[in-house]
Amino acid sequence: MNIGVSRRAFLKTAALSAAAVSLPLSIKATEKEPAKKMYGRKSSQTWCEMCFWGCGVTAHSKNGKVYKLEGQKLCPNNYGSLCAKGNAGVYQLYDPDRLKKPLIRVGKRGEGKFKEVSWEEATKYVADNLKKVIDSYKPRAVSLIAHGSGEHAFIKLMELIGSKNVAIPAYSQCMGSREIGWWLTYGAGFTGHEYGDGENAKCMMFLGRNVLESLQVGEAKKVINGLTKGSKLIYVDPRYSKTAAKADYYLQIRPGTDLALLLGMINFVIQNKLYNEKFVDEYCSGFEELKEAVKGYSLEWTANETDISPKDIADICYELAKAAPSCFIHPGRRLTRYGNDTQTVRAIGILNGLFGNWGYPGGFYAIQNPPIKTGEVCEVEHEEGCSCGRADGAGTDYKLAPSNLGRENGLFDAILSDKPYPVRAMIAYGTNFFQHYPNYETSKKIVDKLDFIVTCDIYMTETALYSDVVLPESTYLERQDPIVTQGDKYPFMQYREPATEPLFDTKGAWEISKMISEHMGFHEAKWKSIDEVNEEIIKKAGITLEQLKKDGCYVFPVTEGIYPQAEGKDLEFKTASGRVELYSGFLDKLGFDPIPKYERPKQAPIGQFRLLFGRMSYHTHARTQNNRWLLALHDYKVKVWINTKKAYELGINDGDNVVLRQGNKKSGILTAYLTDRIHPEAVFIPHGFGRLSEFMKSAYEMQGASDADFASNDVDPISGASAFQNAFVRVEKA
């Protein structure tokens, strides 16, 4: 392993590879240098793109070189703080492994042979190849998967092409089941901006949400503030995570049995009249049916199923009841687990409904939307449109899956099977399906089926490696993007300006999309400049650009409406009944259980473990694993958590090199971490390792296991989203 490259050597490499840009070799103020001698300092405003939460960032640079990122004090996403990832954005900017020039493949796919070309040549090549696919198979044969601030640029391009096959993996590979489960119960999704009122809560319960380690700074701050004020924390997870370390009740649940726990709790709450009768009468529908449906889930049955003691289950119900309605049970975040996920979220919704935690301080507050909308950089006079429908089954086979987000897993099924029609081109923006779609072999088959793949990213990810064209995007510190608006307790808008000139021959997504669009001959599209769009938005908001530039964000004032229940207003729910649907008539019509029913998920064969995966507080998805500052935080090791007793049975000691095995498939080397803090039936690995692309040198050298390579590809029948954690592995000494 060649991980010991020094920081200075890295900075030199970065400087050398950016020969066109003049970079001073010494970028930091040495400790003795007085402040007043620091010429050429500049601050720029942006929002962080190390994850997708969008913390406000002020980038400090000196003589054109960014040396420090800090949180914007006013930004409600982070109020001045940045996490480890956010702070490590500087490394990403100067990472020598970044893509530097547009590339066209010359070798076989995945072989890693590319030639450097100009932007003109690259975008023309993309346009020509997309046109070829369109001519042979109609526009609908072009697909897009995208995630990040520039995704709208490529969505526009898809509108121009006239294909509806846009899939945002955040739905099927992450939050889909949660959104649908919440929508079925409350008539609206939970939205990306979590609205649990942590700072005022008296009790909080989290399942499927490692809130202090998945780390959305704003949300974590709310929770920590609540805990400091004395809120109780109930945390359910087969693994003792960092959130568990702060919990009053940590319940080590048998993996896959969350729904059993919730149904047992619902029954206990009803039987012991712990629910809010007034709220249930006034705002909920289907209470009698619910009562009847859950009465079989006794405390003893639940305890037996979940491995949690009857006393603990009763205790947490009392804790919640005591705190209600200043409490909430969080509906989870990445709900791609066991295939019953929509119903699990339904059960969480029902439990919250019984306690009446709605529009009340400490419960769920009402998200306030900004009074203005984000502008469009490209106006399309007439969309080509397509009457053909989507390939991924969103809205058809899976009636509840929204068509603006699509089902990436469904799209890939369509690519592989040519059904309902051939999809032969893919644009991947900022997303790397090799690391989030089950099984590398299947991912390679998807690649083989496609006539043309183009990836726009900042690294040579696995998807880029297997692409025909690679378009290097400028990082968030080098590019401009249109102002974004965000709804929350206090809605706000955020500004992004470049903190530095692009280091390499890279461009922003809007510029790239525009070039492709022009080469494709979409002259009817009116592309505006980002400045023009921003000007309109700022005018509508009634503020000045200077104001926005000073703070980086603008928070709209809100005086009422955050807590409608507490303010004595009538609550409105956008469900068919206008009430909280404990019994879902909609699900009944679609032929699903109107009230969640428990079925035991697939069980691990003897000698195997259920493979759990998740975040560490310092990595996002598969996009930060090449960042040495972050890798140094875990000593350049990827650990697999395994229960001590089970490990000894297998002859594995703490710190041993081990691999995961599934049939003939074997992972890279992991370091065994023996602990009682994981349920004996499961092992846990951090997401995003076990990489194929040697061009992300640090990530590649780290080895480890890719959860995606081992995950199951089950589908939740209601939402159509994936269920990854029905996968089982053996652990062996390497």
């Binding site: 991980i3 010991g4 490259v5 020094s6 920081r7 200075r8 890295f10 970028i27 930091k28 103020a29 040495t30 400790e31 003795k32 240098e33 007085p34 402040a35 040396y67 420090k68 990122l69 800090e70 949180g71 982070n78 001045g80 703080s81 940045l82 996490c83 480890a84 956010g86 702070n87 490590a88 500087v90 490394y91 202090l212 380690e213 780390l215 700074v217 974590a220 701050k221 920590i224 805990l227 400091t228 003792y240 960092k242 568990a244 370390a245 702060k246 919990a247 009053d248 009740y249 940590y250 080590q252 507080s617 310092y618 040495r628 500052w629 972050l630 140094a632 935080l633 009682d676």
Partner: protein, 187 residues
Amino acid sequence: MKKKYVMLYLIDRCIDCKACMVACKAQWEVPADHFRTHIDEREAPTRISNSRTYFLPSQCNHCDDAPCVHVCPTKASHKREDGIVLIDRSRCVGCKYCIPSCPYNARFFNEEAGVAEKCTFCLPRIAEGLKPACVTTCLSRTRIFGDINDPESEVSIVLKEAIKNKNKIWKLREDLGTEPNIYYIQS
């Protein structure tokens, strides 16, 4: 009265997110595999499960009676009037005596610069009226920094409050008589 800088860690708040470690690394160009501040895990018994994890930050304690200052043959390591223990890089000859002398393992050798290195309480930042990088970025407000000789400062107020509330307050290895200036507070 002269300024005297100290730091408090409200350890109930720390979630081990490691933002402080990277903020410091970014600010001071700390060499690749090193950090000037760390977070350790400790176990404590509890009635809820068999044990409970705490996260304990650590860094240079800026001791009043600092062993690193005593052993330094060139006076590169010195104690400033404001309480900060600082290494003058131009005087450091890289003898490394100070590194094992520190009971808190707060120093390391910077191979590139050929000098001993550690936390400076972000001296150039505080000279500009900013807080140390780790304090600014700390999302749980675990770290509180300031002048303990100023009764109106946040550190003085929080410390007084902690004493009033009978919180557990301690410093690391007080038995050694180094008089550290980092206070651990647990409610």
